[in-house]
Every structure is written in structure tokens, then in C-alpha cells.
């Protein structure tokens, strides 16, 4: 399709093909000391999480702060967060591509890698949340298609498969490049390139296949990506909990996910650009464009936010009213307003100014957006559960509030480390910027 195979001349990289290949393959071969320290750090964080999970397996979910009323906690909000992040893959490699925003080409691979890492960790975190992970197979053996959880399982597996395909298709020529150009890599790595490069020779017909299949996937990934987060929202909106019992929840979740995804890309761009010395490939222009995009997506999310809260807060019906009061003025008010101001209003206002769309300030703002997005999901999951229709009486004091335990935090941080680990490992195996899409179009 034209949209895909015709990146325009806005490519700022005024370098020769050889130079580009050299620049972009550099980080694949070399393991710096920083790389190793980074991996060690991630490993330690993951190990602490594994230990916390071992305690949870041994003593049950009792080690968490979840109890009969707050029966879902930060595992679930973290799951929703990761599912949201995973939408970034479709945002950049599909929506931007289809809308002819060819400047985004260098960002496609990063976003696809992040999408895959996030979706894998979302699946892991949802198993961590299960009371009986030993019975996970029952979901397949006894699965009832009436249950939104089964829909979620189906759509997660589907989205993961599509994301892997999407990443892989655009990787084939680069894998061939690695196979041909990288000589001082371990044998297994060489073998890997050889097998997965699918005997790529750069033939015209081979290109045709890649363009055709990636075009199909680009279109297909959009409804699937919308579905994955909409189905996740249905886990909530199919119940009667205040704040969940809303017809607005699907688009609200999807718009929030796209916004968070854009912020994640900006952060990833910043660190990859600096640590892998790719300043010529990920330019200030990319940050500028992404900044504008973030403003747009934040505005959309703001719109859905207003929709989500205005109706209930105008009517103030029963427990729905209690829930709104708790968010606006109660014990979650500080979190709620910080999220609204720093995670939603600030990016819109600040990123309108061009100077703030420079790499560093926009990275900081994106961090605020990401933290806001995570806390926002906490606010979606937990306060709703604390306002059931029937009063909470006669229960142990621990049932009345929810303050996550160290085990929950350790597992949550480990899941973040897991995402970063997967991203890091993939980046150490393949070029993070699609080389062929830059070089082949120069000819």
C-alpha cells in the first residue's frame, strides 16, 4: 500500500546507507557496562517481586491488602495500566501510518516492542491476581464464553499474536541485515538471525509480501486494539459498582490508553535516543510531533473524563453520589485532583508551548502523565469497590481500607521491571529503528 511504502522526503537523515546501517546496528553488538548494570538492576527488582510472589503462593492473597470489599487491588489496576500501554503499538504503527504521518516511521519498532512487553506483563500480572493460579488451565478446559473474562483472555491472546506479527514483519529485512553484517555475535544469535530472516534477499516479490501483509495487519490491529481495552473496560462496566456502571467506560478507557501510550513513547524515545546515541534518527521534530499528538489525545481523554463524572456528580444518586463525593472531597480527593491537574490539564496546557515540546521538558511531562495514568487506574478500581449498595458493617478493621502491602508493591515494580527487561533484551537483539525503512527509501 502506498501509505506504507512511500515515506516522503522529510527524512532528515542526510547520511549514506552504510553510515545509517552502522549507526543503527551499533547498539545490537555492543554490551556496555551500563547495559549490564541496568540488567542487573532489573534482575534484582524482579527477584524481589518473585520472592514476594512466593510468599503470596505460600500464604495466599492474605499477604495483600485486599479483603472482601476491596476484592481487587493494584494488581488489577496495574493490569489495566499495562493493557492501556499496549495500545501504543497500534497507535504508532497503524493509526499514524495510515494517517500518512511518515515522520513516525523510526518510532514504529519501539512502540511495537513496548506493546508486546506490556501485554506479556499484563497477562502475568492477571495470573498473579488469581487466588488459584494452579487452576489456570481451567479457564481453557471449562471456559464459559458468557464471561467477560473469557472474552478478555481471547482478545489478549489475539492482540499479542497480532503485535508479534506486526513487529516481526517489519523486522525481517533488518534480521537479514543483522545476518549479513554482524559477525562478532554469539553463534546462537547468528543462528537466530538466519532462521528468522526467512532467506531474505531483498527481492521485489519479498518486499511485496511484506508490504501486503503489514498493510493488512495495520488495518486489523485497530479494531483488535480497541477491543482489547474495551473488553477490559467491560470487566468493570458489566457490574453495578458506582463508577463502573457506565456506558462511557469503553471509549473512556481507550482514549486514556492512547494518551498513556503516547506518553510512554515519548519517554522511550528520550532514553533510547540518549543511551543509544541516536540523536540524528530520533530528532527534536519527533518530540515536537509527539507533543502535539499528546495534546490532542489528552484533550480527547479530558472530554471523556468530563463525560464520565459530570452526569453522576450532577445527579448524586445513592452510592454513586457517595463515590463521587469520596473522589472529589474525600480520602481520595488529593489523588484525584493531582491526577486531573498534573496528568491531564498540565500536558494540554504546557505542551501547547513549543519550547516545552523539547526532549527534556516533554519527557518530564510525559512522566507525570504516566504516573497520573497509573494512579488514575488505581482510582478507577479501588474506590468503586468501597461503596457497595449495602453498608459495610461488622467486619474486621482491615476490611475498611486498602493500603497495598510491600508484597503488592514488590510484584508491581517487578512487573514494570519485566516490561523494561523485555524491551531491553529485544533492543539488544535487533535494531530499535527500522533500518530498511530508512535506507531502502533512499534509493
Amino acid at each position: 500500500m502506498d501509505l506504507v511504502d512511500n515515506p516522503d522526503s522529510t527524512r532528515e537523515v542526510g547520511k549514506s546507507r552504510q553510515q545509517i546501517e552502522q549507526d543503527l546496528l551499533r547498539h545490537v553488538t555492543k554490551w556496555t557496562k551500563n547495559d549490564k548494570l541496568w540488567l542487573l538492576f532489573l534482575g534484582v527488582v524482579i527477584l524481589i517481586g518473585v520472592f514476594a510472589y512466593y510468599r503470596q503462593l505460600r500464604y495466599g492473597l492474605l499477604v495483600t491488602a485486599m479483603r472482601d470489599y476491596t476484592s481487587w487491588g493494584i494488581y488489577i489496576s496495574n493490569f489495566v495500566f499495562f493493557v492501556a500501554i499496549s495500545l501504543v503499538g497500534s497507535l504508532v504503527s497503524s493509526i499514524l501510518k495510515l494517517s500518512n504521518a511518515t515522520w513516525s516511521t523510526p518510532l514504529t519498532r519501539i512502540s511495537e516492542i513496548i506493546a508486546i512487553a506490556a501485554i506479556i506483563c499484563a497477562s502475568i500480572i492477571i495470573i498473579v491476581d488469581m487466588g488459584r493460579p494452579d487452576r489456570f488451565i481451567y479457564v481453557i478446559i471449562f471456559g464459559r464464553i458468557q464471561s467477560p473474562i473469557i472474552w478478555d483472555v481471547i482478545i489478549i491472546v489475539t492482540y499479542l499474536a497480532i503485535s508479534i506479527l506486526l513487529l516481526y514483519i517489519s523486522l525481517i529485512p533488518d534480521l537479514a541485515l543483522c545476518r549479513d553484517k554482524l559477525h562478532d555475535v554469539p553463534r546462537w544469535q547468528k543462528k537466530l538471525y538466519e532462521v528468522f530472516a526467512l532467506n531474505w534477499k531483498g527481492e521485489k516479490r519479498q518486499y511485496q509480501i511484506i508490504h501486503k501483509t503489514s498493510s493488512i495487519l495495520c488495518i486489523m490491529v485497530i479494531p483488535v486494539a480497541f477491543a482489547i481495552h474495551t473488553v477490559t473496560s467491560w470487566l468493570f462496566s458489566t457490574t453495578w459498582r458506582p463508577g463502573w456502571d457506565s456506558t462511557n467506560l469503553g471509549p473512556y478507557f481507550v482514549s486514556g490508553a492512547l494518551m498513556a501510550g503516547a506518553a510512554v513513547i515519548i519517554i522511550a524515545m528520550y532514553f533510547i535516543r540518549n543511551s543509544l546515541r541516536l540523536k540524528e534518527y530520533i530528532t527534536e521534530l519527533h518530540f515536537d510531533h509527539m507533543g502535539k499528538l499528546l495534546v490532542l489525545l489528552s484533550a480527547v481523554y479530558l472530554y471523556f473524563n468530563i463525560n464520565e463524572y459530570l452526569g453522576p456528580s450532577f445527579k448524586m444518586v445513592g452510592v454513586e453520589g457517595e463515590h463521587i463525593t469520596e473522589l472529589f472531597f474525600g480520602k481520595y480527593a488529593y489523588m484525584y485532583w493531582l491526577v486531573q491537574i498534573f496528568g491531564l490539564i498540565l500536558p494540554i496546557v504546557a505542551l501547547i508551548y513549543k519550547p516545552l515540546r523539547a526532549p527534556f521538558p516533554i519527557m518530564v511531562i510525559s512522566f507525570l502523565v504516566i504516573i497520573g495514568a497509573w494512579v488514575k487506574r488505581f482510582l478507577i478500581v479501588i474506590p468503586s469497590l468501597q461503596h457497595p449498595y449495602l453498608p459495610i458493617q461488622d467486619v474486621d478493621e482491615s476490611y475498611l481500607h486498602y493500603i497495598p502491602t510491600w508484597e503488592e508493591w514488590a510484584i508491581t515494580f517487578a512487573s514494570f521491571a519485566g516490561v523494561l527487561l523485555i524491551v531491553t533484551l529485544i533492543i539488544k537483539l535487533v535494531p530499535v529503528i527500522p533500518v530498511w525503512e530508512l535506507t531502502d527509501n533512499k534509493e
Partner: protein
């Protein structure tokens, strides 16, 4: 050996009006020769008393059914409960009886008695709350593995050998009827607890990482007895019965369900949710005893 088959009604000694089928009894006499074995009465699944040699009878009269049989409801029945709010004085005897028979510790009862007050100006009242056994059960809809299911007799049960512990049912239940075994169930400290054969009809034994709730005591219903909470209530506030035969009993008094609901303006809690509960409430009007604040921790 003489084998008598008799259908029998036994009036249990002191429980006036209530008919109980059963109890082991032996029948030996001097006129029976010594080689003949002692006979005992046992209850067959279809509700008849038959006499069989003692050696053939199980040590206890009734063995609860396993997870597979428990999925099939008691035929041609539709169980309902009616709670007369005007009679509840928060004695908490229903909770005690339920805890006792389900081996529950007081910190995680299946039944709660809530102090309710509909608005500032109206009088408070006590509201015993069990599982509502909805006909349009939100919890069953969302269960990914059919661990919780609805039977033909209207009862919603949990198979804790199937439950994966996702707790979606707990989020879905608008009545907070479900409890979770966050850790090892405290009652598993009881000696021999883990050896009790599991039955979804008794919800015993509880298992870590799975959900539990009020089950309407189908093991009792299979023996033609009412659930434990019904007989435990000193005020007769809890009625139980079969909707198809239009009859409920509180252990002492037996009345027509339709008449009771009509005359006392029976209602279902949060009817507007469309869950179609099988637990009805009679409004807390014309109370025999005025409302009295009882501290919730007085229970023990």
C-alpha cells in the same frame, strides 16, 4: 430377614409442627432370633424410610452429595426465603447456627445482620442478609469457569474445587454476599477438617484462594429439613419454603407465601437491578419489640 419398606412421617419430639424425616432407630426384640441382624431405618434419596441391616447403613444417616451431583437441583422445587424485618432484633442466632454448621469462624460469616436506616427521619432496623440466590444472577454470568452456577431449584452454589479465585463474582454481586478465603481458612485448624469429603451443598471444607457464600443448605433440603438459620431464629423472623407449592415455614408456623407477601407488602431488595432475588423482605412495621441499638461486637 424381613425387609420392611415404609414411608414414614415422624414428629420430632419438641419442634412443634415441624416434620422431620428420620433419625436412625433400631428395631430389635426378644421375638427376633439372635442370628438376625439389627435393623436400622435410613432415608432413601427419594425421601422414604427403609429398614436395612445396621451393617449396611453408613455411620451417619446422611452423606452430602459431591461436586458433580450438586450441580443438579432438587427436582421440581424452587426455594425462597422471606425475612420479616419487623421481627429481627439482632440476636444473631442465625449467624451462629450458620457459622457452626459451615465451620466458619466469626470473622467471616456468610450471614450478616446489618443496621439499616432508609433515611434520617425513619426508624433504623436490622436486616439479616444472606445470598439472594438471584434468578438473574450477576455472579454466575461473570464466572469464567462455571465454578459458581445456578441450579433448577433456584439455588446458586459454588464448587470450590473449580474456582480459580478471580473474584469477578465478588465485584459483580451488588449485595456483597460473597466472601473470599484470602488465606488458609482459619477453621482448617480444626482436627479432621480437611478430611471431610467436600460437597458444594455444605460448602465444607473451605479452600484457600476460593470464594464462599450462603448456600441455602441444600444438604438439609435434601433431607426435607429447613436451613439451619431458619430454626435458629428465636423470633421466627426467617421463613423458608418452596415457591411452587406456595408455602413457607419459619420452623413453627407454616403459611402461604403469596398470602404473606400480599398481606405484609413483601418486597425484594434493590428490585430495580433486575437480579430477581429469591429472598423477600417484609417491611419493618408494627414491630413486636421496638428497635434497640445493639453493639455489633456483643455477638460473642
Amino acid at each position: 430377614m424381613e425387609k420392611k419398606e415404609r414411608r414414614a412421617f415422624l414428629k420430632s419430639g419438641l419442634a412443634a409442627g415441624a416434620i422431620t424425616l428420620a433419625t436412625i432407630s433400631s428395631c430389635t426384640g426378644p421375638n427376633i432370633s439372635e442370628e438376625e441382624e439389627e435393623l436400622v431405618n435410613v432415608l432413601t434419596p427419594d425421601g422414604r424410610l427403609v429398614q436395612i441391616p445396621k451393617s449396611m447403613a453408613a455411620a451417619d444417616s446422611y452423606v452430602p452429595v459431591g461436586p458433580k451431583e450438586a450441580r443438579i437441583g432438587i427436582p421440581n422445587k424452587k426455594f425462597v426465603m422471606v425475612v420479616d424485618l419487623s421481627r429481627c432484633t439482632n440476636e444473631r442466632k442465625c449467624i451462629d447456627a450458620c457459622d457452626h454448621h459451615h465451620h466458619l469462624t466469626p470473622d467471616r460469616p456468610y450471614i450478616k445482620v446489618l443496621r439499616m436506616q432508609d433515611n434520617e427521619d425513619s426508624s433504623p432496623y436490622w436486616m439479616p442478609k444472606k445470598c439472594f440466590q438471584c434468578d438473574n444472577p450477576p455472579c454466575v454470568k461473570v464466572c469464567p469457569v462455571s465454578a459458581t452456577y445456578k441450579r433448577s431449584d433456584g439455588i446458586v452454589l459454588i464448587d470450590n474445587e473449580r474456582c480459580i479465585g478471580c473474584r469477578f463474582c465478588m465485584s459483580a454481586c451488588p449485595y456483597s454476599a460473597r466472601v473470599f478465603n484470602w488465606g488458609q481458612p482459619p477453621e482448617s485448624m480444626e482436627e479432621g477438617y480437611d478430611e471431610i469429603p467436600y460437597s458444594p451443598e455444605t460448602s465444607v471444607p473451605s479452600r484457600i484462594g476460593t470464594v464462599g457464600k450462603c448456600d441455602f443448605c441444600p444438604d438439609m433440603l435434601r433431607q426435607d429439613k429447613v436451613p439451619h438459620c431458619i430454626t435458629a431464629c428465636p423470633n421466627g423472623a426467617l421463613y423458608f419454603g418452596d415457591k411452587l407449592s406456595d408455602t413457607v415455614t419459619n420452623g413453627g408456623e407454616t403459611v402461604r407465601l403469596s398470602q404473606l407477601l400480599r398481606e405484609k407488602a413483601g418486597y425484594r431488595y434493590l428490585e430495580e437491578l433486575g437480579t430477581e432475588p429469591n429472598v423477600y423482605y417484609l417491611p419493618p412495621v408494627n414491630r413486636a419489640v421496638p428497635f434497640e441499638e445493639t453493639l455489633s461486637d456483643q455477638e460473642s
